[in-house]
Amino acid sequence: MQKVQNNKAWWLVLPVFLLVAFSALIPLMTVVNYSVQDIFGPGQAFFVGTEWFKEVLTDERLQDSLLRQFIFSGAVLLIQIPLGIGVALMMPKSGIKGSLCLILLAIPLLIPWNVVGTIWQIFARGDIGLFGWGINQLGIDYNYTGDTLDAWLTVLLMDVWHWTPLVALLCYSGLRAIPEAFYQAAEIDRASKWAVFRYIQLPRLKSVLIIAVLLRFMDSFMIYIEPFVLTGGGPGSSTTFLSQTLTTMAIGQFDLGRAAAFSLIYFLIVLLISWLFFTAITHADKEK
């Protein structure tokens, strides 16, 4: 059969393009449009130029929540990635034990966000929660609703419990894809366990890990429901992350212009970081 050489297949993308235009492009344009206006109600909008952006960029409350967000996402990555690799390495390679581990690991991933928040809200309570009560019984003063550090640790622990399995599952699939011959060669060379990990497993996990880091970064950077249910952003505003600040502004105070300007800055940060990760992934593929 003769192959047709032209670019007409691009027309098949048109329906998707139209859908994306309605679901993403036009809303985005609307947000840009709102960000340069002060809107009081229908027919009462005033053009304010870049005033909102200036205000948002110099607003200390937002800078604080941005800083908290970066610290949180950083901590999430620092804990979950090594822990996920560790769990994947310790999991049985096959058989019924392997399947059992997979099922147990997957359970937290199946629980909806708000339920996770509720579970931990009760679990970590000092009076009726097993975790909070247990810690208090050890003689440690623990109260996640009153103490900033406790609140942070609880939110982090909750996220680690909820999402480390994802990293572990990704790494597990990556590990299973390493051919047995690699291990046999290492055994002949009498390589230590550390050397096997450092020179065989870790390099082979590279692409899986980039995806895991990207997913975990994006998810933790946009986290909203879990801390909102668990701590409500408190005590004070110590666990108020970016999206909660944004929601309060847009829906609570109905400050559309400012919230739009803030969303655009948020979007630009996410876009930049995703692009960096995307470039790293495609670059790593090209090197192979």
Binding site: M29, N33, V36, Q37, L57, L268, L271
Partner: protein
Amino acid sequence: MIAWMNWTPTVAIFFAVIAGILAVMTVYEIVSPCTERKGFLPIATTRGDRLFIGLLSAAYIHLTFLAVSDITLWVALAVSVAWLLVLLRWG
């Protein structure tokens, strides 16, 4: 058309310019298809990649000007355009 959803002329011009750039780049690509090459950026890029990097950094340049100074944004725009051209030519 522009009164719908409180569209403002400024935003209309902004998106028209971006759409215009994309259209020009598409035509340019059809007339003379580009190949990936390595310039002063640490990665090999196509023309489209460099445009994207240029536009994204333009956004950050504007935000930086807004955040740290009271200089008019026309200066930020001029810097961005200059940076975009440098990037497209030597990036």
